[in-house]
Protein backbone atom coordinates (compact mmCIF):
# COMPACT_ATOMS: atom_id res chain seq x y z
CA UNK A 1 0.00 0.00 0.00
CA UNK A 2 1.47 3.35 -1.00
CA UNK A 3 0.02 6.57 0.23
CA UNK A 4 1.11 10.03 1.20
CA UNK A 5 -1.34 10.29 4.03
CA UNK A 6 0.77 9.98 7.22
CA UNK A 7 -2.10 8.40 9.21
CA UNK A 8 -2.74 5.74 6.59
CA UNK A 9 1.00 5.21 6.40
CA UNK A 10 1.28 4.77 10.17
CA UNK A 11 -1.64 2.31 10.16
CA UNK A 12 0.05 0.39 7.37
CA UNK A 13 3.34 0.36 9.23
CA UNK A 14 1.75 -0.97 12.42
CA UNK A 15 -0.10 -3.60 10.37
CA UNK A 16 3.08 -4.65 8.57
CA UNK A 17 4.96 -5.05 11.86
CA UNK A 18 2.12 -6.99 13.49
CA UNK A 19 1.60 -9.23 10.46
CA UNK A 20 5.26 -10.15 10.27
CA UNK A 21 5.29 -11.21 13.95
CA UNK A 22 1.88 -12.90 13.51
CA UNK A 23 3.39 -15.31 11.00
CA UNK A 24 5.88 -16.48 13.59
CA UNK A 25 3.27 -16.63 16.36
CA UNK A 26 1.11 -18.91 14.20
CA UNK A 27 4.19 -20.96 13.30
CA UNK A 28 5.10 -21.24 17.01
CA UNK A 29 1.57 -22.46 17.81
CA UNK A 30 1.71 -24.95 14.95
CA UNK A 31 5.05 -26.47 15.93
CA UNK A 32 3.97 -26.60 19.58
CA UNK A 33 0.81 -28.49 18.61
CA UNK A 34 2.79 -30.82 16.33
CA UNK A 35 4.58 -32.23 19.39
CA UNK A 36 1.39 -34.10 20.27
CA UNK A 37 0.40 -35.38 16.84
CA UNK A 38 -0.77 -39.00 17.12
CA UNK A 39 -0.42 -39.10 20.89
CA UNK A 40 -3.15 -40.06 23.32
CA UNK A 41 -5.62 -37.63 24.82
CA UNK A 42 -5.75 -36.03 27.41
CA UNK A 43 -2.27 -34.88 26.53
CA UNK A 44 0.75 -35.59 28.64
CA UNK A 45 3.34 -32.87 28.88
CA UNK A 46 6.65 -34.70 29.39
CA UNK A 47 10.01 -33.19 30.34
CA UNK A 48 11.04 -33.84 26.73
CA UNK A 49 8.06 -31.75 25.52
CA UNK A 50 8.98 -28.96 27.88
CA UNK A 51 12.55 -29.00 26.58
CA UNK A 52 11.19 -28.76 23.02
CA UNK A 53 8.90 -25.88 24.01
CA UNK A 54 11.84 -24.16 25.67
CA UNK A 55 13.82 -24.38 22.44
CA UNK A 56 10.87 -22.94 20.48
CA UNK A 57 10.49 -20.07 22.95
CA UNK A 58 14.22 -19.44 22.86
CA UNK A 59 14.18 -19.34 19.06
CA UNK A 60 11.22 -16.99 19.09
CA UNK A 61 12.84 -14.64 21.62
CA UNK A 62 16.12 -14.84 19.69
CA UNK A 63 14.44 -13.80 16.45
CA UNK A 64 12.13 -11.21 18.00
CA UNK A 65 14.39 -9.35 20.39
CA UNK A 66 11.63 -6.81 21.05
CA UNK A 67 9.67 -9.48 22.95
CA UNK A 68 10.43 -10.03 26.63
CA UNK A 69 8.57 -13.28 27.18
CA UNK A 70 7.31 -16.18 25.09
CA UNK A 71 5.78 -19.58 25.67
CA UNK A 72 2.64 -21.65 25.68
CA UNK A 73 -0.38 -21.99 27.95
CA UNK A 74 -2.48 -25.12 27.84
CA UNK A 75 -6.15 -25.46 28.52
CA UNK A 76 -6.71 -27.40 31.77
CA UNK A 77 -9.22 -29.65 30.02
CA UNK A 78 -6.73 -30.63 27.36
CA UNK A 79 -3.87 -31.94 29.42
CA UNK A 80 -3.40 -34.60 32.02
CA UNK A 81 -0.67 -33.23 34.28
CA UNK A 82 -1.57 -29.90 35.83
CA UNK A 83 2.12 -29.10 36.34
CA UNK A 84 2.70 -28.47 32.65
CA UNK A 85 0.04 -25.86 32.11
CA UNK A 86 1.93 -22.60 31.84
CA UNK A 87 5.29 -22.89 30.11
CA UNK A 88 6.56 -19.36 29.70
CA UNK A 89 10.09 -18.04 29.41
CA UNK A 90 11.55 -14.59 29.72
CA UNK A 91 14.72 -13.25 28.14
CA UNK A 92 17.55 -12.41 30.50
CA UNK A 93 20.92 -10.80 29.93
CA UNK A 94 22.16 -14.28 29.12
CA UNK A 95 19.78 -16.81 27.66
CA UNK A 96 16.22 -17.31 28.83
CA UNK A 97 14.66 -18.16 32.17
CA UNK A 98 11.49 -20.03 32.99
CA UNK A 99 8.82 -18.07 34.85
CA UNK A 100 7.20 -19.71 37.84
CA UNK A 101 3.49 -19.20 38.35
CA UNK A 102 1.14 -20.11 41.16
CA UNK A 103 -1.71 -21.92 39.42
CA UNK A 104 -3.65 -23.03 42.49
CA UNK A 105 -6.91 -21.11 42.75
CA UNK A 106 -6.86 -19.34 46.12
CA UNK A 107 -3.07 -19.78 46.24
CA UNK A 108 -0.86 -17.07 47.60
CA UNK A 109 0.15 -15.76 44.20
CA UNK A 110 -2.59 -17.34 42.11
CA UNK A 111 -2.19 -16.41 38.46
CA UNK A 112 -5.64 -16.56 36.91
CA UNK A 113 -4.67 -17.26 33.31
CA UNK A 114 -7.86 -19.02 32.13
CA UNK A 115 -9.76 -15.77 32.56
CA UNK A 116 -7.23 -13.82 30.59
CA UNK A 117 -8.68 -12.58 27.32
CA UNK A 118 -5.79 -13.71 25.13
CA UNK A 119 -6.61 -17.22 26.27
CA UNK A 120 -10.39 -17.06 26.12
CA UNK A 121 -10.49 -15.21 22.84
CA UNK A 122 -8.09 -17.58 21.04
CA UNK A 123 -10.25 -20.46 22.27
CA UNK A 124 -13.52 -18.88 21.16
CA UNK A 125 -12.42 -17.56 17.76
CA UNK A 126 -9.68 -19.99 16.77
CA UNK A 127 -7.68 -16.95 15.62
CA UNK A 128 -4.79 -14.90 16.92
CA UNK A 129 -5.57 -12.29 19.54
CA UNK A 130 -3.98 -9.50 21.44
CA UNK A 131 -4.46 -8.21 24.95
CA UNK A 132 -3.03 -5.16 26.58
CA UNK A 133 -1.85 -2.84 27.84
CA UNK A 134 -2.03 -4.55 31.24
CA UNK A 135 0.06 -4.76 34.36
CA UNK A 136 1.10 -8.39 34.59
CA UNK A 137 1.07 -8.62 38.40
CA UNK A 138 2.38 -11.97 39.69
CA UNK A 139 3.53 -12.78 36.17
CA UNK A 140 6.27 -10.61 34.72
CA UNK A 141 5.23 -7.65 36.94
CA UNK A 142 5.62 -5.46 33.86
CA UNK A 143 3.33 -3.22 31.84
CA UNK A 144 2.92 -5.30 28.73
CA UNK A 145 0.85 -6.50 25.81
CA UNK A 146 0.39 -10.17 24.96
CA UNK A 147 -0.12 -11.55 21.46
CA UNK A 148 -1.16 -15.19 21.07
CA UNK A 149 -2.37 -17.73 18.54
CA UNK A 150 -4.41 -20.84 19.33
CA UNK A 151 -2.77 -24.26 19.35
CA UNK A 152 -5.05 -26.72 17.58
CA UNK A 153 -4.74 -30.45 17.59
CA UNK A 154 -6.88 -32.10 14.92
CA UNK A 155 -9.20 -29.12 15.05
CA UNK A 156 -9.48 -29.05 18.85
CA UNK A 157 -8.25 -26.11 20.88
CA UNK A 158 -5.59 -27.17 23.38
CA UNK A 159 -3.98 -23.87 24.33
CA UNK A 160 -2.18 -20.81 23.06
CA UNK A 161 1.35 -19.88 22.07
CA UNK A 162 2.55 -16.31 22.10
CA UNK A 163 4.79 -13.60 23.37
CA UNK A 164 4.83 -10.51 25.61
CA UNK A 165 6.13 -7.13 24.63
CA UNK A 166 6.71 -4.16 26.91
CA UNK A 167 4.51 -1.13 26.29
CA UNK A 168 7.61 1.06 26.29
CA UNK A 169 9.02 -1.04 23.43
CA UNK A 170 5.84 -0.52 21.38
CA UNK A 171 6.22 3.17 22.08
CA UNK A 172 9.75 3.10 20.61
CA UNK A 173 8.61 1.06 17.64
CA UNK A 174 5.57 3.05 16.59
CA UNK A 175 6.27 6.57 17.81
CA UNK A 176 8.15 7.71 14.68
CA UNK A 177 5.18 6.80 12.46
CA UNK A 178 2.67 8.27 14.92
CA UNK A 179 4.66 11.49 15.33
CA UNK A 180 4.48 11.99 11.57
CA UNK A 181 0.70 12.38 11.86
CA UNK A 182 -0.41 15.99 12.25
CA UNK A 183 -2.56 16.54 15.36
CA UNK A 184 -3.28 14.14 18.21
CA UNK A 185 -3.35 10.49 17.19
CA UNK A 186 -3.26 7.17 19.00
CA UNK A 187 -3.08 3.46 18.39
CA UNK A 188 -6.07 1.82 20.11
CA UNK A 189 -6.75 -1.78 21.06
CA UNK A 190 -9.96 -3.71 20.55
CA UNK A 191 -11.61 -2.03 23.57
CA UNK A 192 -10.53 1.40 22.38
CA UNK A 193 -7.91 1.77 25.06
CA UNK A 194 -4.79 3.68 24.10
CA UNK A 195 -1.72 1.53 23.37
CA UNK A 196 0.52 4.35 22.15
CA UNK A 197 -0.41 8.01 21.70
CA UNK A 198 1.58 10.60 19.76
CA UNK A 199 1.10 13.33 22.37
CA UNK A 200 -0.04 13.89 25.95
CA UNK A 201 -3.64 14.08 24.74
CA UNK A 202 -4.09 10.30 24.63
CA UNK A 203 -2.22 8.49 27.36
CA UNK A 204 -1.57 4.76 27.35
CA UNK A 205 -4.25 2.79 29.21
CA UNK A 206 -6.93 5.47 28.78
CA UNK A 207 -10.17 4.13 27.35
CA UNK A 208 -12.00 6.27 24.81
CA UNK A 209 -15.63 6.16 25.74
CA UNK A 210 -16.64 8.14 22.69
CA UNK A 211 -14.81 9.14 19.55
CA UNK A 212 -14.53 12.94 19.44
CA UNK A 213 -16.47 14.58 16.58
CA UNK A 214 -13.37 15.80 14.82
CA UNK A 215 -11.69 12.38 14.95
CA UNK A 216 -11.98 9.14 13.03
CA UNK A 217 -10.87 5.54 13.44
CA UNK A 218 -8.74 3.94 10.75
CA UNK A 219 -8.64 0.14 11.09
CA UNK A 220 -5.19 -1.41 11.28
CA UNK A 221 -5.11 -4.20 8.73
CA UNK A 222 -3.88 -6.97 11.06
CA UNK A 223 -6.63 -9.62 11.19
CA UNK A 224 -8.36 -10.31 14.54
CA UNK A 225 -6.09 -8.08 16.61
CA UNK A 226 -8.73 -5.35 16.84
CA UNK A 227 -6.26 -2.50 16.47
CA UNK A 228 -7.22 0.87 15.07
CA UNK A 229 -5.72 4.28 14.69
CA UNK A 230 -7.44 7.38 16.03
CA UNK A 231 -6.67 10.48 13.96
CA UNK A 232 -8.13 13.81 12.94
CA UNK A 233 -10.64 13.71 10.14
Amino acid sequence: MTTDNPAAKAAAEVAAWMNSVSKDVYKFAESAGALWTNRSSPLKVTPKDIAALETMSKDFLGKHTTAIGAGVIFSVEAIENPGGILEWWTSRAQGIEKLEFDLTPGGERFYDYQNMPFFASARNTGKQSMWGPYLDYLGLDEYILTHTAPIQLAGTFIGVAGYDIRIRKLEELFMPALRAIPGDAALLNENRSVVVGNSGAYLVGERLRTIPDDKQLIPVDAPHLGLSLLTSQ
Binding site: E108, N115, D141, N191
Partner: protein, 253 residues
Protein backbone atom coordinates in the same frame (compact mmCIF):
# COMPACT_ATOMS: atom_id res chain seq x y z
CA UNK B 1 19.42 -18.23 40.08
CA UNK B 2 16.02 -17.36 41.39
CA UNK B 3 14.06 -14.98 39.22
CA UNK B 4 12.95 -11.68 40.66
CA UNK B 5 10.01 -9.78 39.31
CA UNK B 6 9.97 -5.99 39.56
CA UNK B 7 7.85 -5.96 42.71
CA UNK B 8 9.88 -8.69 44.34
CA UNK B 9 13.03 -6.71 43.55
CA UNK B 10 11.67 -4.00 45.82
CA UNK B 11 11.82 -6.48 48.66
CA UNK B 12 15.58 -6.77 48.25
CA UNK B 13 16.39 -3.04 48.00
CA UNK B 14 19.34 -1.57 49.82
CA UNK B 15 18.54 -0.63 53.40
CA UNK B 16 18.75 2.90 54.77
CA UNK B 17 19.74 2.37 58.41
CA UNK B 18 21.40 0.27 61.05
CA UNK B 19 19.73 -2.71 62.65
CA UNK B 20 19.94 -4.10 59.18
CA UNK B 21 19.68 -7.72 60.07
CA UNK B 22 16.37 -7.13 61.84
CA UNK B 23 15.16 -5.06 58.90
CA UNK B 24 15.95 -7.93 56.52
CA UNK B 25 13.98 -10.33 58.69
CA UNK B 26 11.06 -7.89 58.67
CA UNK B 27 11.10 -7.27 54.97
CA UNK B 28 11.19 -10.92 54.03
CA UNK B 29 8.48 -11.80 56.56
CA UNK B 30 6.22 -9.02 55.29
CA UNK B 31 6.78 -9.95 51.68
CA UNK B 32 5.62 -13.48 52.48
CA UNK B 33 2.57 -12.24 54.40
CA UNK B 34 1.55 -10.09 51.43
CA UNK B 35 2.03 -12.98 49.04
CA UNK B 36 4.93 -11.35 47.16
CA UNK B 37 7.15 -14.28 48.05
CA UNK B 38 5.55 -17.64 48.51
CA UNK B 39 6.11 -20.76 50.51
CA UNK B 40 8.30 -23.15 48.54
CA UNK B 41 10.14 -20.38 46.74
CA UNK B 42 13.93 -20.30 46.85
CA UNK B 43 15.65 -17.10 47.94
CA UNK B 44 18.53 -15.81 45.81
CA UNK B 45 22.02 -17.02 46.78
CA UNK B 46 23.59 -15.49 49.89
CA UNK B 47 26.20 -13.50 47.96
CA UNK B 48 23.50 -12.11 45.67
CA UNK B 49 21.22 -11.32 48.61
CA UNK B 50 23.86 -9.46 50.61
CA UNK B 51 24.73 -7.45 47.51
CA UNK B 52 21.05 -6.54 46.86
CA UNK B 53 20.45 -5.56 50.47
CA UNK B 54 23.81 -3.78 50.56
CA UNK B 55 24.92 -5.52 53.76
CA UNK B 56 27.96 -7.48 54.82
CA UNK B 57 27.70 -11.26 54.38
CA UNK B 58 27.80 -11.67 58.16
CA UNK B 59 24.76 -9.39 58.60
CA UNK B 60 22.85 -11.38 56.02
CA UNK B 61 23.79 -14.68 57.66
CA UNK B 62 22.54 -13.30 60.97
CA UNK B 63 19.18 -12.44 59.36
CA UNK B 64 18.85 -15.83 57.68
CA UNK B 65 19.69 -17.56 60.91
CA UNK B 66 16.94 -15.57 62.66
CA UNK B 67 14.47 -16.52 59.90
CA UNK B 68 15.56 -20.16 60.31
CA UNK B 69 15.04 -19.98 64.07
CA UNK B 70 11.54 -18.67 63.47
CA UNK B 71 10.95 -21.58 61.10
CA UNK B 72 10.21 -19.27 58.17
CA UNK B 73 13.06 -20.47 55.96
CA UNK B 74 15.09 -23.65 55.79
CA UNK B 75 18.46 -24.16 54.17
CA UNK B 76 19.20 -27.31 52.22
CA UNK B 77 22.64 -28.34 51.00
CA UNK B 78 23.54 -29.89 47.71
CA UNK B 79 22.96 -29.31 44.03
CA UNK B 80 19.30 -28.35 44.29
CA UNK B 81 19.96 -26.73 47.66
CA UNK B 82 19.56 -23.17 48.84
CA UNK B 83 17.43 -21.25 51.28
CA UNK B 84 13.71 -21.90 50.85
CA UNK B 85 10.65 -20.28 52.34
CA UNK B 86 8.92 -22.99 54.32
CA UNK B 87 6.12 -21.28 56.21
CA UNK B 88 3.92 -18.22 56.49
CA UNK B 89 5.48 -15.96 59.10
CA UNK B 90 3.34 -15.31 62.06
CA UNK B 91 3.72 -11.85 63.50
CA UNK B 92 3.72 -12.39 67.21
CA UNK B 93 1.21 -10.59 69.41
CA UNK B 94 4.16 -8.99 71.15
CA UNK B 95 5.38 -7.40 67.91
CA UNK B 96 1.88 -6.10 67.11
CA UNK B 97 1.48 -4.68 70.62
CA UNK B 98 4.78 -2.88 70.25
CA UNK B 99 3.64 -1.60 66.87
CA UNK B 100 0.55 -0.05 68.43
CA UNK B 101 2.50 1.36 71.36
CA UNK B 102 5.19 2.91 69.18
CA UNK B 103 2.73 4.70 66.92
CA UNK B 104 1.09 7.91 67.94
CA UNK B 105 -2.45 8.65 66.83
CA UNK B 106 -1.03 11.41 64.65
CA UNK B 107 1.19 8.87 62.90
CA UNK B 108 -1.68 6.46 62.35
CA UNK B 109 -3.77 9.28 60.92
CA UNK B 110 -0.87 10.26 58.69
CA UNK B 111 -0.52 6.71 57.33
CA UNK B 112 -4.24 6.87 56.59
CA UNK B 113 -3.72 10.22 54.85
CA UNK B 114 -1.08 8.79 52.57
CA UNK B 115 -3.10 5.69 51.89
CA UNK B 116 -6.17 7.80 51.11
CA UNK B 117 -4.22 9.93 48.63
CA UNK B 118 -2.89 6.84 46.86
CA UNK B 119 -6.20 4.98 46.93
CA UNK B 120 -8.32 7.90 45.70
CA UNK B 121 -6.21 8.27 42.59
CA UNK B 122 -5.96 4.51 42.17
CA UNK B 123 -9.70 3.83 42.09
CA UNK B 124 -10.39 6.71 39.70
CA UNK B 125 -7.81 5.31 37.30
CA UNK B 126 -9.14 1.79 37.80
CA UNK B 127 -12.58 3.02 36.67
CA UNK B 128 -11.02 4.46 33.57
CA UNK B 129 -8.71 1.59 32.70
CA UNK B 130 -10.12 -1.68 34.03
CA UNK B 131 -11.55 -4.08 31.46
CA UNK B 132 -14.87 -5.91 31.98
CA UNK B 133 -13.37 -9.40 32.35
CA UNK B 134 -11.35 -8.13 35.34
CA UNK B 135 -14.44 -7.33 37.42
CA UNK B 136 -15.21 -10.98 38.23
CA UNK B 137 -11.79 -11.46 39.72
CA UNK B 138 -11.98 -8.18 41.64
CA UNK B 139 -15.32 -9.23 43.12
CA UNK B 140 -13.83 -12.57 44.15
CA UNK B 141 -10.90 -10.84 45.84
CA UNK B 142 -13.30 -8.39 47.52
CA UNK B 143 -14.89 -11.29 49.38
CA UNK B 144 -11.53 -12.82 50.36
CA UNK B 145 -11.58 -11.58 53.95
CA UNK B 146 -14.68 -13.62 54.83
CA UNK B 147 -13.28 -16.85 53.37
CA UNK B 148 -11.11 -17.49 56.43
CA UNK B 149 -11.05 -16.69 60.12
CA UNK B 150 -7.27 -16.72 60.50
CA UNK B 151 -5.97 -13.18 61.04
CA UNK B 152 -2.88 -13.67 58.86
CA UNK B 153 -4.99 -14.95 55.95
CA UNK B 154 -7.53 -12.18 56.39
CA UNK B 155 -4.64 -9.71 56.28
CA UNK B 156 -3.33 -11.24 53.09
CA UNK B 157 -6.77 -11.26 51.45
CA UNK B 158 -7.35 -7.64 52.43
CA UNK B 159 -4.01 -6.50 51.05
CA UNK B 160 -4.46 -8.55 47.88
CA UNK B 161 -7.73 -6.74 47.11
CA UNK B 162 -6.12 -3.33 47.54
CA UNK B 163 -3.11 -4.30 45.44
CA UNK B 164 -5.48 -5.53 42.71
CA UNK B 165 -7.09 -2.06 42.56
CA UNK B 166 -3.66 -0.63 41.74
CA UNK B 167 -3.05 -3.37 39.17
CA UNK B 168 -6.35 -2.43 37.48
CA UNK B 169 -5.21 1.19 37.50
CA UNK B 170 -2.33 -0.12 35.34
CA UNK B 171 0.23 1.84 37.33
CA UNK B 172 3.40 0.07 38.49
CA UNK B 173 4.21 3.02 40.78
CA UNK B 174 0.81 3.09 42.47
CA UNK B 175 1.08 -0.69 42.84
CA UNK B 176 4.45 -0.29 44.57
CA UNK B 177 3.01 2.41 46.80
CA UNK B 178 0.01 0.25 47.68
CA UNK B 179 2.27 -2.71 48.52
CA UNK B 180 4.30 -0.46 50.83
CA UNK B 181 1.15 0.86 52.56
CA UNK B 182 -0.19 -2.65 53.02
CA UNK B 183 3.10 -3.90 54.45
CA UNK B 184 2.97 -1.12 57.01
CA UNK B 185 -0.51 -1.57 58.42
CA UNK B 186 -2.40 -4.65 57.31
CA UNK B 187 -1.18 -7.01 60.03
CA UNK B 188 -2.02 -4.61 62.82
CA UNK B 189 -5.42 -4.13 61.21
CA UNK B 190 -6.32 -7.83 61.38
CA UNK B 191 -4.48 -8.88 64.52
CA UNK B 192 -6.61 -9.96 67.46
CA UNK B 193 -4.37 -8.56 70.19
CA UNK B 194 -6.89 -5.77 70.59
CA UNK B 195 -10.29 -5.01 69.04
CA UNK B 196 -10.92 -7.12 65.95
CA UNK B 197 -11.92 -5.83 62.57
CA UNK B 198 -15.29 -7.10 61.34
CA UNK B 199 -14.62 -9.10 58.14
CA UNK B 200 -18.28 -8.92 57.02
CA UNK B 201 -18.21 -5.16 57.07
CA UNK B 202 -14.87 -5.02 55.26
CA UNK B 203 -16.11 -7.43 52.60
CA UNK B 204 -19.26 -5.34 52.13
CA UNK B 205 -17.15 -2.22 51.66
CA UNK B 206 -14.82 -4.00 49.24
CA UNK B 207 -17.80 -5.28 47.25
CA UNK B 208 -19.41 -1.85 47.02
CA UNK B 209 -16.09 -0.49 45.78
CA UNK B 210 -15.73 -3.28 43.21
CA UNK B 211 -19.25 -2.52 41.98
CA UNK B 212 -18.50 1.19 41.62
CA UNK B 213 -15.46 0.32 39.50
CA UNK B 214 -17.46 -2.12 37.39
CA UNK B 215 -20.08 0.61 36.88
CA UNK B 216 -17.37 3.05 35.87
CA UNK B 217 -18.48 5.46 38.61
CA UNK B 218 -15.27 7.25 39.67
CA UNK B 219 -17.00 9.65 42.10
CA UNK B 220 -18.64 6.78 43.98
CA UNK B 221 -15.48 4.71 43.91
CA UNK B 222 -13.43 7.53 45.37
CA UNK B 223 -15.99 8.29 48.09
CA UNK B 224 -16.24 4.60 49.00
CA UNK B 225 -12.51 4.01 49.19
CA UNK B 226 -11.98 7.13 51.32
CA UNK B 227 -14.71 6.00 53.71
CA UNK B 228 -13.19 2.53 53.79
CA UNK B 229 -9.75 3.87 54.69
CA UNK B 230 -11.26 6.16 57.31
CA UNK B 231 -12.83 3.08 58.90
CA UNK B 232 -9.40 1.39 58.86
CA UNK B 233 -7.85 4.40 60.59
CA UNK B 234 -10.64 4.55 63.18
CA UNK B 235 -10.17 0.89 63.87
CA UNK B 236 -6.39 1.23 64.30
CA UNK B 237 -6.80 4.19 66.64
CA UNK B 238 -9.48 2.43 68.70
CA UNK B 239 -7.37 -0.72 68.80
CA UNK B 240 -4.39 1.27 70.00
CA UNK B 241 -6.37 3.11 72.66
CA UNK B 242 -8.04 -0.02 73.96
CA UNK B 243 -4.61 -1.52 74.59
CA UNK B 244 -4.21 1.32 77.04
CA UNK B 245 -0.95 3.09 77.59
CA UNK B 246 1.20 0.37 79.14
CA UNK B 247 4.38 2.38 78.59
CA UNK B 248 3.05 5.38 80.46
CA UNK B 249 1.59 3.20 83.15
CA UNK B 250 5.00 1.69 83.72
CA UNK B 251 6.59 5.09 84.04
CA UNK B 252 4.15 6.15 86.74
CA UNK B 253 4.99 5.04 90.23
Amino acid sequence: MTSNTAFQAQVYQSLPETERSEAIVNRISKAISLGLLKVGERLPRETVLSEMFGVAPSTLREALSELRDQGIVATRRGRSGGTFIVKQPFTSDEVIRTWFQDRSIAEIRDMGDEHAAIAAATVRLACERAEPHEFVRLTELARGVVMTDKPELQARADSRFHIELAVLAQSPRLTNAEIRMQAETVQALWSNVSLTRDPEQVAAEHLALARAIANDAPEDAQRLVLEHIRHDVHHLVDAKLSLGYPMYQQERP
